[in-house]
């Protein structure tokens, strides 16, 4: 039996096409992936992300526990800030990638992938006794009672204060939601109920993620839809979420990341804080950062008109010694660029941007070129968006 978020009825009402994703019944699209994608790039899109998991880690030992289990350094976070980080096994393989928010000095909120909630929970439980300072904190899974939506796009700052009026009551203290800066989080009051709003997302655009009690998810969704419609806001499904994140080269667990792949190979070394002291997986990650890796996650763009690249299509080198060198992990037709784009792993010596490769599509090799990440760069924010 597939799980449903508290927005299931809202999706049906909006004509969303529901598909299975990570054990959940989620909208892949409402009208068209391209339309929803472009709405996010040009105006705004609203996503149900209530399937994602939320763990709370609290207590005086929370910081030490998280710095033992996560690759990034939570000591770099002030109260009211968040960071992208990874949970690795002893081999440096990725158990999950996640966002860690420091709500207060000893109070953290972790937002994890829906498909990894159980694996993460089991892994973290297993780490409790192995942590050098293994007491003084409590780990709780809040996923069941917590909902979440993401509202993303260049026009979001023009209307979000209408949906959630007023200033913050915890975390980063600001007079309005739009006073949050990137990666900051604050507690706000929505219709008398405390919610969290972080300025982050998975699309490359300006935007916010709202983490709310499941009982008010639908009210928050409806308030954002009502405030945003006049600004071009559209509900957007997982299809657009995938094309948007692929253009930005944001990894998706199960595609670019798994327990046999390290953050260094994935190009996420920036989120591995080797200088913070020992943590799970550090030995392998330090060795790879210093000595290099055998394979690297690259971004590529099809150079001729071709069918879109798809996950698992073989990647080939070119020239007289052409050989299969890797596999596509994510691929699609980029709605922003009108071209096939994707990511995949290739040997490190073939990973330089500008390197010509080929993607095997139904037995034929179509030319492509490795490009710098991100594949698509949203234009700089307008003056109006900066002011707000």
């Amino acid at each position: 039996m597939l799980k449903r978020t508290s927005l299931f009825a809202a999706h049906q009402l909006l004509g969303g096409r529901l598909v299975e994703f990570g054990g959940w019944e989620m909208p892949v699209q409402y009208t068209s992936i391209t339309e929803e994608h472009l709405a996010v790039r040009q105006a705004a899109g609203l996503f149900d992300i209530a399937h994602m998991g939320e763990f709370s880690v609290t207590g005086p030992g929370a910081t030490a526990f998280l710095n033992h289990t996560l690759t990034n350094n939570v000591n770099r976070l002030d109260a009211g800030q968040g960071q992208y980080t990874l949970l690795c096994n002893e081999r440096g393989g990725v158990v999950d990638d996640l966002y860690a928010y420091r709500l207060a000095a000893d109070d953290y909120l972790l937002i994890v992938n829906a498909s990894r909630i159980e694996a993460d929970w089991d892994w973290l439980q297993g780490q409790v006794d192995l942590c050098p300072a293994h007491d003084g904190f409590q780990l709780s899974d809040r996923s069941e009672e917590t909902g979440a939506v993401a509202v993303q796009g260049p026009r979001v700052a023009a209307f979000i204060n209408q949906a959630v009026p007023g200033g913050s009551i915890s975390g980063t203290m600001v007079p309005h939601v739009t006073d949050l800066k990137k990666n900051q989080i604050g507690g706000f009051v929505f219709q008398g109920i405390p919610i969290y709003i972080g300025r982050t997302g998975y699309t490359g655009e300006d935007g916010f993620e709202l983490v709310v009690p499941a009982t008010v998810t639908e009210a928050v969704w409806n308030a954002l839809l009502a405030a945003g419609r006049p600004f071009g806001l559209k509900p957007a499904g997982l299809g657009a979420r995938d094309t948007l994140r692929t253009e930005m080269c944001y990894p998706l667990y199960g595609h670019e990341l798994d327990e046999e792949t390290t953050p260094i190979e994935a190009g996420l070394g920036h989120f591995v804080a080797l200088d913070k002291g020992d943590f799970v997986g550090r030995a392998t990650l330090a060795e790879q950062k210093a000595g290099g890796v055998r394979q690297r996650c690259v971004a590529f763009r099809m150079t001729d008109k071709s069918a879109p690249p798809r996950p698992h299509y073989p990647i080939w080198s070119t020239g007289a010694t052409a050989a299969a060198i890797g596999e596509v992990t994510s691929g699609t037709q980029s709605p922003s660029l009108g071209a096939g784009v994707g990511m995949g792993y290739v040997p490190a010596d073939l990973a330089r941007p500008g390197t010509e490769i080929a993607v095997e599509i139904r037995g034929r090799r179509a030319p492509a070129v490795i490009v710098a990440k991100p594949i698509y760069r949203p234009p700089a924010p307008t003056v109006a968006a900066k002011v707000s």
């Binding site: 699209q29 068209s32 992936i33 391209t34 299809g239 069918a307 879109p308 699609t332 037709q333 709605p335």
Partner: protein
């Protein structure tokens, strides 16, 4: 409601067939294009290729997925639609018209009546 023209025949795999003499024109149905949305690429069979009824012979790709297209009846491909190769969105905007995919010379015209008529196809897609 999908557009289901009554002068066409339909395969259960959501292709339509228009018969004129011994030539059949093939495309995907309005219902199918609506399910796919955002067609971004089509790959068509080579002219001269002999197809059996039910044979996978073309691919229509949306942003999200690649879908095989099956020959509704047997025959030899006589023409493919260059306009739809250049502008795959025609499959969405005019699935029964400018968005046609290929034509074939029917190998066995007797196969045609075995396809669904408009009423039966409407039932198949739950709009009967």
């Amino acid at each position: 409601m999908s557009n289901v023209p009554s002068d066409l025949r339909y395969a259960k795999s959501h292709e339509w067939l228009r018969v004129q003499g011994d030539t059949g024109t093939v495309g995907i149905t309005d219902h199918a294009q609506h399910e796919l949305t955002d067609v971004v690429f089509v790959e068509l069979p080579a002219a001269g290729r002999a197809l059996k009824a039910g044979e996978a012979c073309a691919v229509v790709e949306s942003v999200k997925t690649a879908s095989d297209i099956y020959a509704p009846v047997g025959g030899v491909v006589t023409a493919v639609n260059p306009a739809v190769v250049a502008n795959p969105a025609l499959v969405n905007t005019a699935p029964h018209g400018e968005g046609w995919l290929f034509q074939l010379k029917l190998a066995a015209p007797a196969e045609v009546p075995a396809l669904l008529d408009a009423a039966a196809y409407r039932q198949l897609i739950g709009e009967g």
